[in-house]
């Protein structure tokens, strides 16, 4: 019964029990027969000690502020370390006068802070310097190497020209040499080792405008057929978009582009063939490849234009060396 007398008195006052006298507590509190009428803001400690019947709707103990405030609000509210308030409260309780200014320890700590800040700043600027200088040195290296490459290329070109000139002068010196040289030239024209010039026809082929399907596009096999037909009607040298077609040339689909000599081509494809410019065009349309192309042009709208040229120059193929193929016996 005594606990029930005490409990409502405490919770209404909010003051320590020692500070209140029994008489006003008696006058303030409700009749002891009605403990459920207690105010809801009862401290949890007392709730545990209370032996009376519990109401089902009794509120939960108040959760800590950190749990209800939300992180940002809590951070803002407790931005000052609580220890300061705690220590000052303790000190006030003990009756010690608070120190007004930071002492030697504070000075030392602030000096440490200053060192930290200065060190961080110095370090950051030093790192920036380092990265900038390393970038500058990289750029310089790249430029140096580029200049070196240019010089070496120029030297290689000069040496090649010199070799050709020496070859010429050597071969021209003797009759046998001149014979070898004309043979070399002929082989070069046939094999694609030297540029060639002469009359011929130019065939320009391209995808149909706005092509969506495979059939409306130029495929590697279409180009192959065209080139084969050109050989068939007597072409002596052929190039596709500046790539000389030799006996080592492959025309094939590489990814989404057609490659010739392993170099990717772009539309439109210009096939130049040196030969009899008056006959080749007509003969071409008579071959199977020519007929295929006529069908492609008529049915799918591909571009297929044949023109005669009085003089064309086809480039040399890139020099290549044979590593395995040998003559069975030396030619005399």
């Amino acid at each position: 019964m005594a606990a029930e007398h005490d409990t409502p008195g405490r919770s209404t006052d909010g003051a320590p029990a020692a500070a209140q006298t029994p008489a006003p507590a008696q006058s303030q509190e409700q009749p002891p027969e009605q403990p459920p009428e207690q105010p809801p803001a009862q401290p949890p400690v007392l709730a545990h000690g209370h032996a009376g019947p519990r109401k089902p709707s009794r509120p939960m103990p108040e959760p800590p502020p950190a749990a209800v405030m939300g992180l940002l609000n809590y951070l803002t509210a407790t931005s000052l370390d609580e220890d300061y308030a705690h220590v000052s409260k303790q000190r006030a309780a003990a009756g010690v006068r608070p120190k007004k200014s930071p002492g030697t320890v504070g000075l030392v700590v602030l000096a440490v802070f200053g060192v930290l800040v200065a060190t961080a700043a110095v370090q950051t600027s030093r790192n920036a310097d380092e990265s900038a200088s390393s970038r500058a040195s990289l750029v310089k290296q790249v430029n140096d190497r580029k200049a070196e490459l240019r010089a070496k290329r120029a030297r290689a070109a000069g040496l090649t020209a010199e070799v050709a000139a020496l070859e010429d002068s050597n071969l021209d010196a003797t009759t046998q040499g001149r014979a070898v040289r004309s043979r070399l030239d002929r082989l070069g024209v046939i094999g694609g080792g030297v540029p060639v010039k002469g009359p011929g026809i130019r065939v320009v082929v391209d995808d149909a405008p706005g092509a969506t399907q495979d059939k409306q596009q130029v495929l590697d096999q279409d180009l192959q057929k065209l080139v084969n037909s050109l050989w068939l009607v007597g072409a002596e040298a052929i190039s596709i978009n500046g790539q000389r077609v030799t006996n080592l040339t492959a025309i094939r689909e590489g990814g989404s582009a057609i490659t010739v000599n392993f170099v990717s081509m772009r539309r439109p494809y210009t096939v130049s063939a040196i030969g009899n410019k008056n006959q080749m065009a007509a003969k071409l349309l008579d071959t199977e490849g020519g007929r295929t192309w006529l069908t492609l042009r008529a049915s799918f709208g591909l571009k297929f234009d044949v023109t005669s040229e009085d003089s064309m120059t086809l480039p040399a193929a890139r020099p290549f060396s044979l590593r395995y193929a040998r003559q069975p016996e030396r030619l005399r």
Binding site: L80, Y84, P102, G103, L107, V112, F113, G114, T119, V122
Partner: protein, 110 residues
């Protein structure tokens, strides 16, 4: 006054000596500085509130610096160093801002 003197001495020392930071400590230095900044602003606010205490300042300074560095170190080891540094910076930044706001109210009464 004594605080400003201490700060000045520290900055001058750092600039004059230019101590070499070991490479393994380098990632933690900036975050340690931010943590220290938080402790210093907290101390300034406490000073203006009249509840400054040497011991609390020292303890909060050292623990702030150490904890910030340890959190980043731990994050590095776990592979979330960048994210954890961001988290630490955000929390410390909010605290610094609200402390500075309180300091401003003290000084300008606004």
């Amino acid at each position: 006054m004594i605080a400003a003197v201490g700060l000045l001495i520290g900055v001058l020392l750092g600039l004059v000596l230019q101590p070499e930071v070991p490479i393994w400590l380098e990632p933690y230095l900036p975050i340690a500085v931010v943590a220290a900044l938080d402790a210093v602003f907290g101390a300034l606010r406490a000073f203006l509130d009249g509840i400054f205490d040497d011991k609390v300042f020292v303890v909060s300074f050292v623990s702030n610096v150490l904890i910030a560095a340890v959190i980043v170190y731990l994050g590095d080891k776990l592979g979330v160093g960048g994210q954890l540094s961001t988290g630490v910076i955000v929390v410390l930044g909010i605290r610094i801002f609200s402390n500075v706001a309180a300091i401003r109210r003290h000084i300008f009464h606004a």
